[in-house]
Amino acid sequence: MASGYWNRVLRVDLSSGVVSVQTVAEEVWKLCVGGAGYAAKVLLEETSKDTEPFDPANPLIFALGPYQAGNNPGNAKWTVAAKSPLTGTYGDSAAGADWGVALKRAGYDALVVKGAASRPVYLSINDERVELKDAGELWGLDAYQTVEAVQGREGGRGTAVVCIGPAGEKLVRLACIVADAHSFAGRCGLGAVMGSKKLKAIAVRGSRSVPVHDEPACIRLAKERFREILAAAKNNGFRDHGTPNLCITAEAFGDMPIKYWTGDVWPEGAQKLGAPNYTEVLRARPLPCANCPIGCHRNIEVQSGPYAVKGPGPEYETLGMLGTNLLIDSPEAIAKANDICNRLGIDTISTGACVGLAMECYDRGWLSKASTGLELTWGNADAMIELVRQIGMREGFGSLFADGALAAARKIHPDAEPLVAHVKGLDLPAHDARACWSLAVNYATCTRGACHMRGVTEDVEMGGFFVPELGIVKDWTQFFCPENKSELTVKLQDYCAWMNSLVVCVFMVDGGELSFSALLELFNAVTGWEWTIDDAMRSGERIFNLQRLVNLRDGHGRHTDTIPLKMTIPAKKGFRAGKTPAPFEPYLDRYYRLRGWDRGGRPTRECLENLGLVEYAKLAGVM
């Protein structure tokens, strides 16, 4: 057996009710590592261009990696993937809390769910005992209620649970998957895929430890790195203030979304939403995942008033997309909207994009109070909260957005589609590519659509993250200079693809200051593979190209490797005044050359041979 792996994938067919365990050879893990890499392999092999996201044949893949062996810092992450209801191609998302570690301890490297049940069910996994159980009474409950109810049936609070809320049940294409009422696999609408299978929840209890190559080294390294990451996170404010610590800096550098990407500056808003005001007003405290020294998630409380709420608080992305993006500066109101999103189970990023589009269309006179029932003026927090609720419940005017911002725009007005800030159907997160030009390249080419977390290049440009092992050092790339933007993107996309396949929380390296070398040392102690930095980067490149093959097979390519129109319109004032990454084509051409792709964005035969992906390219119909 490969060290760090069980070599076992649990397979559940909801149509037939058959549960089986698939044996997976070490060679497979060496090819794709696990997590997002394994998910790409399954999607390539088991779906076709014609597989629709809500087709029972669309596999919902929950995948772990070798990093979940032992108590490695930041190992609470797990990956979920399927063909996305928003992009129609490879879609993945990651979350934390306790669930992924529990699944690994139950004796599995991944769980693949196919088919669809005829009535609501939940899956119960307790080591070897795997059962499908009736979820009729759970259907309709919100996500927090579901976690509590499932834990009540399945052994109490020690049972880890992922579930969907009403949004997933109603096939809202912004639906997320909720872990332990704490962490959220938000992007790509994968909660709706779970809903299409009538799978309400997955409960896991695990009692086993997967063997590792060098157990004493694993224990020692995990403890040492935990201490170092904790010290770094205390020093840079990440532990005390979480991701809201970024708001003021991001706004000052033109990175934060303002007025659905049409505004230039709003320092007053960022001051109110960001730390330290956020921490004080919302009484925020760290809410760590399992084995996490940082605890970036926030536990918050608003004690009274219309926005009274207690539980997981909004992250930077939510403060951006439901805050500055809408000219809303009340942390309490955003905390309330965030709670509604969490309970109904919708992605706060895409939801913020939908509300932003609604407000922009309202501003242009394409929507009215008479047609919507809401006064959707910029800054109207109560209207935002009500629209968020309606979207999550696929109800009233909000049902217009239940298939995503792009689909809504096509129904609102003939000229509305160009207003939607998306790539491949996935809405931009709360980072502006006009400030950090490498983001333009990353957004355009990321295999799940517009995403910053599969490259985190903006943190390099804003000076928060460097990888000396890859030559990514201070001043290597600078604001508003074209040099090295495509290079940075390729390097970090490959590094992140490898990390998302281990599966490690990216904040251990970006914010926790865990070096690539130290992470690799942990990886080798677990697996015994003695990989070098080059081996890991080649692995990341292979995984990224596997995902790209799914994209190409599903009809994406150069024509969808684009940036939104709004990213080409310069600001009139502020840090990025007059600056945009347009014309964008030269960045894309350079990126393709660096990747060994042709002008259409397809890997050349030489590239595929070097990565050992020729057979996969044939399978995808790409060569």
């Binding site: 020093n235 840079n236 404010g237 990440f238 979480g242 991701t243 610590n245 970024l246 003021i248 800096t249 991001a250 000052a252 330290p276 970036c296 992250e315 930077y316 992305e317 997160p429 709360a430 980072h431 910053h452 977390m453 985190v456 903006e458 943190d459 804003m462 000076g463 928060g464 993250f465 460097f466 201070k474 001043d475 600078q478 604001f479 904040f507 970006d510 914010g511 200051e513 840090f575 005044a577």
Partner: protein, 84 residues
């Protein structure tokens, strides 16, 4: 008169980000007695240049050796990250 024209004192507006803003406050005005660079501002503030991940003067990313003029706006950034 700017320092570049005669070596008189000059004032620069400093904005601090990240953990630096918690220690020094977000906005400061620093007076230098002669022509100076970002390094001189850091000396006045008691900041180690190695702590900084980014220095921006008048909207342009620079090195700490950058000469300063009267009224310049200096942004000093210590590492901040986290955008999930």
């Amino acid at each position: 008169m700017s320092a570049g024209q005669g070596g008189c004192s000059l004032q620069v507006k400093v904005r601090c980000f990240g953990s630096l803003s918690e220690r020094l406050g977000e906005r400061r005005v620093v007076e230098l007695s002669r022509q100076g660079t970002v390094v001189d501002v850091l000396k006045v503030l008691g900041v180690d240049a190695n702590q900084l991940s980014l220095v921006v003067v008048n909207g342009r990313q620079v090195r700490v050796s950058e000469p300063l003029g009267d009224g310049d706006e200096v942004m000093l950034v210590t590492p901040v990250s986290g955008g999930t």
